[in-house]
Amino acid sequence: MGWLPEPIERLLEVALVGELTVVGRNGRPVTHPLIPLYDGEKIYLHSSTLFSKKLEHIKRDGRVSLALTDPVAMKGNRDRATIQGTARVIEDDPHSDWERLILELWRAKEPAIDDFLKARVALPLFFERAVIEITPERALYWEDGNTDRAPTDVRAPREVAA
């Protein structure tokens, strides 16, 4: 079961975009706006092989953070959160793994994806995708997005972090 506080789960459930930050080459932070999906325990992001540098970074160092900051992309919710965790890339079969793992979650958040899938022939490489599975380990939370106050800092229970 998940341990993230309920206000952060609410953000994850509506966010159309979150900023995923990975450890790039030379230890530099690199940020990618992506649509986050959440199954109540893990956070899932996904990436086409076209834009796969982030996957290379994660495979080299799985430590990541996901920031949820934009009220426009979160149905007006002004709260903010940053979730740190460890990511792994699932890509045994980039053609179909992602459909099995996250299509339902994706469809629930972005129903228009079915229209894009029908046009798979037009953009075949866009639909060769890897799934990024994040196990949350720490969460920072700013109620009403107010960063003038220090965030609430919550850590995963020991058994989850282990």
Binding site: T31, S48, A67, T69, Q84, L125
Partner: protein
């Protein structure tokens, strides 16, 4: 033969004044760094830019001091959700640098994407080399070949560019109609002609893709559309060049077998020569040493192939002889199908020039190309009118003049959309429809003429 691999997406660069101006349009930025535990951490905050000083002043977030001993990432990101559709206005910009006093960042590197500047489809095409590199590395990692895939149906459709078969159907059906108006029609040889011509067309499509991939023309093209830029199955590694070669051979073999059967049935050596000429023109279109389209002769090759060769071939199958009527008639689809190529080359002109493919739009100004289009399109209609006046074409074929407005619409569209590959797609579609409309109306004219002849006598 190796092809040049272009760089993927927009490369990172030194920050410019434009980057500072772009960043200033975002309501907030996300500031990220690698924390003491080695994890990235991020916080959103407000900011001000000073392009002259080359600095970004960040509002200090409470309880999370921004470190000044390591590189910081500042990202501005925006989308506009469109319920039920998805989203648009996607853009983001990130800058890296060191923070001097806890709030003042001096960026030294920038990278980003704005779909208003680089449309998503172009951005994707620019990233194809990254996908290929990634899948090659993944194959090595997994110890098995991992390639992109499509279902058989869609792959076959894309590889052969099946929808373009309308270009074959129009002249073949017109050739059969012209023969029928002369009293010669056998349904099964007519059907075989259509099938054989279609296989030849598909074989030529695949052959052209092979040579355009090997020359680098398709890979250099980062703004392909559904009408231009080739099938791209080899560029995407959906099919290997070897696979395409076998497919082209198989398609040619079927076309040749049907052609030989028709030669045997009709006993016409003329048909044999027409078929051979068709294959030579089709292959020489992109294949060395002639590479006709690379020399600005593509339109003539297409006009000959889809005009006299296809239409006269279909006529000869039915009648066993050549005649002036089908030759004059063939000038119409020949010209209009050449114009399809002509317009479809417009969005490809920069990458074509880069690959040494000196098509007409790479050689002449937009004004010359637009005027050339109008002259040839109107000439095609003049052939119909002249053919009727001269007694070579039946008078009901004048109905095809009803498609003139479509040609004018394409000409007008070329004025507006010449430099925009994606908005030009609608114009390219209208241009394809022009050929179908003229072909369809000519067919109706022939059917009407045949019916009138039967009624009269």
């Amino acid at each position: 033969m190796t092809t040049a691999i272009r760089s993927g997406s927009v490369p990172a660069h030194d920050p410019t004044t434009a980057d500072f101006e772009r960043l200033a349009t975002y309501p907030r930025v996300v500031v990220s760094w690698i924390d003491e535990s080695g994890y990235p951490t991020s916080v959103a905050t407000s900011f001000e830019t000073d392009a002259d000083a080359g600095t970004i002043t960040l509002a200090a977030p409470a309880g999370m001091p921004i470190p000044n001993d390591r590189e910081i990432n500042v990202t501005g990101s925006h989308i506009r959700p469109q319920p039920g559709i998805g989203y648009d206005q996607r853009r983001y910009l990130q800058l890296w640098g060191l923070v001097a006093d806890g709030t003042t960042l001096t960026p030294t590197r920038a990278w980003g994407w704005d779909e208003n500047e680089t449309p998503f489809f172009e951005y994707s095409e620019r990233s194809v080399p990254q996908s290929r590199r990634y899948l090659a590395a993944l194959s090595k990692e997994k110890g098995r070949t991992i390639r992109p895939r499509l279902s058989f149906f869609w792959l076959a459709l894309r590889t052969t560019r099946l929808p373009f078969l309308s270009a074959t159907a129009v002249p073949v059906l017109l050739g059969i109609a012209a023969a029928a108006s002369d009293g010669a029609f056998t349904w099964w040889t007519a059907l075989l002609t259509l099938i054989g011509g279609s296989f030849a067309h598909l074989a030529i499509n695949v052959t052209n893709d092979i040579f355009d991939t090997l020359s680098g023309a398709d890979e250099a093209n980062t703004t392909p559309t559904q009408f231009s830029g080739g099938s791209r199955v080899a560029v995407y590694d959906l099919v290997s060049i070897r696979g395409l070669s076998w497919l082209a051979l198989a398609l040619f073999a079927v076309a040749a077998l049907i052609g030989l059967l028709l030669v045997a049935v009709t006993g016409s050596l003329t048909l044999l020569w027409i078929g051979l000429a068709g294959i030579i023109v089709g292959v020489a279109y992109t294949a060395p040493p002639l590479k006709l389209v690379y020399r600005g002769l593509g339109e003539i090759a297409v006009a000959v192939g889809f005009g006299p060769i296809m239409l006269l071939g279909a006529y000869v199958v039915q009648t066993g002889r050549l005649a002036w009527e089908p030759l004059v008639l063939s000038l119409v689809p020949g010209a209009l199908i050449a114009l399809i190529l002509f317009v479809n080359e417009i969005p490809d002109r920069r990458s074509d020039a880069e690959a040494g493919k000196r098509t007409l739009p790479t050689r002449f100004s937009p004004d010359v190309i637009r005027t050339g289009y109008l002259v040839v399109a109107l000439a095609a209609f003049a052939v119909i009118a002249g053919g009727v006046v001269g007694g070579l074409l039946p008078w009901p074929t004048l109905i095809a003049l009803g498609a003139v407005p479509l040609a004018l619409r394409v000409h007008a569209g070329l004025k507006v959309h010449y430099d925009s590959p994606y908005t030009l797609m609608a114009v390219m579609g209208t241009n394809v429809n022009l050929n179908l409309a003229v072909g369809g109306l000519l067919l109706i004219g022939y059917v009407a003429a045949i019916l009138v002849m039967q009624l009269v006598g």
